[in-house]
Symmetry: C2
Subunit: 227 residues, 2 copies
């Protein structure tokens, strides 16, 4: 198909397709004339993945390139999953990097919290994992800010996270080893985060509203009405 058809099929503007080509995210089409190229289903699939990673996943072009390279190089679905797990950007770390050198005590305490948590969960994770560092930075902030911070409460969160990861991997493992299906695994891993965050926010909303209706002094707004 021509680039215009590729654009129509994927909803990605022609200019963006050309940009992804230049940035090395999308393989070249088959040249059919001096300035024309023929694109196939593999381009449709790759473009949809790029779009998902950059919009829903919120990845930068550079991070998207890393994830695509990891997918292309992995030889098995498990290899893909492991590579993706490291290629996807870690939340928190970048935003907090500016004051990484500060507050050494809080940082050491947070790192000890992470170590204890991983031991308590019997998680097998190399010390070099970017997620260990990211979690330590998140906990350092909680230590500093949360007046009621208690590290022993992390286990309850970790156990729920463990169950969620199991659901994620069940979805990913349903796919076989072909590159097309490994790409689906990227989607599952990258898109579960926003989906879960929205579900958590909806559940919070529900529970806050239920708490409010039990209050002595409910604050229902106009039009909210009883139910």
């Amino acid at each position: 198909m021509k680039i215009s058809e590729l654009s129509r099929r994927t909803g990605v503007p022609v200019a963006s397709i050309k940009y992804f080509r230049r940035e090395g995210l999308l393989p070249a089409g088959r040249a059919t004339a001096a300035r024309l190229a023929e694109y196939g289903e593999e381009h449709v699939q790759r473009l949809r993945l790029i779009k998902a990673l950059t919009t829903l996943g919120g990845l930068s072009i550079a991070a998207t390139r890393d994830v695509l390279a990891a997918v292309d190089q992995a030889e098995t679905t498990d290899g893909t999953l492991r590579a993706i797990s490291y290629a996807l950007p870690v939340p928190v770390t970048a935003a907090s990097a500016g004051d990484a050198e500060r507050d050494a005590d809080a940082e050491a305490a947070a790192e000890a919290d992470v170590t204890r948590l991983i031991a308590a969960m019997d998680w097998k994770i190399p010390d070099t994992s970017p997620h260990i560092r990211g979690l330590a930075m998140a906990l350092r902030e909680l230590r500093r800010l949360d007046a009621d911070y208690r590290p022993e409460r992390l286990v309850a969160y970790a156990e729920l996270a463990h169950s969620i990861a199991r659901l994620d991997l069940e979805r990913a493992a349903a796919f076989d080893d072909s590159p097309a299906l490994a790409e689906q695994a990227v989607i599952v891993l990258a898109l579960s985060g926003p989906m879960l965050e929205l579900l958590r926010r909806l559940a919070q909303e529900d529970q806050v509203r239920r708490r409010s209706t039990l209050d002595d002094n409910p604050e229902e707004g106009p039009g909210d009405g009883p139910r």
Copy 2:
């Protein structure tokens, strides 16, 4: 205290403190001379909260201003929680807003998925919730991209999200109605997301590694060793 001391206590540079003042995020200090102001503990607390929201929470200045206004206006902790739940930015929606008019069928199907899920969970949530729209957009992308998308699997995720929200609100509810403690509730709600995402990534890592060691053809790297 002087602005230099305020900066030292919070780790926020003087120039940033002045910027937050100009942007209306931080109340004025008590004027002690033509160009000097005296700051108190409430400024320390507010600055730490601003820092947490903008770095760990990843909020823009405008979004931070909204959250702070909601905190200042709420009269009860529950009112604060409800206000914050709407003030915090919704993931996904903004990034996908560009093609909101496209793919009406997938969008209608995703909205029906959300409606069914909320009914199945017996969640009480107004139709106007920004999280409903956000989740519908996330599911629309999953519908389009995930070859093995099955809406009935959402319930398992929603139940885990429900348990996480309960943990969040237990932490928030431990605080009383004073403004200082309501601010702590913001921290709990805003910072649980990144923490949970990192725990999920660690759990994924653990499970991917365990899967790999069960493979016929394990791909352990050098130095990884048996355990």
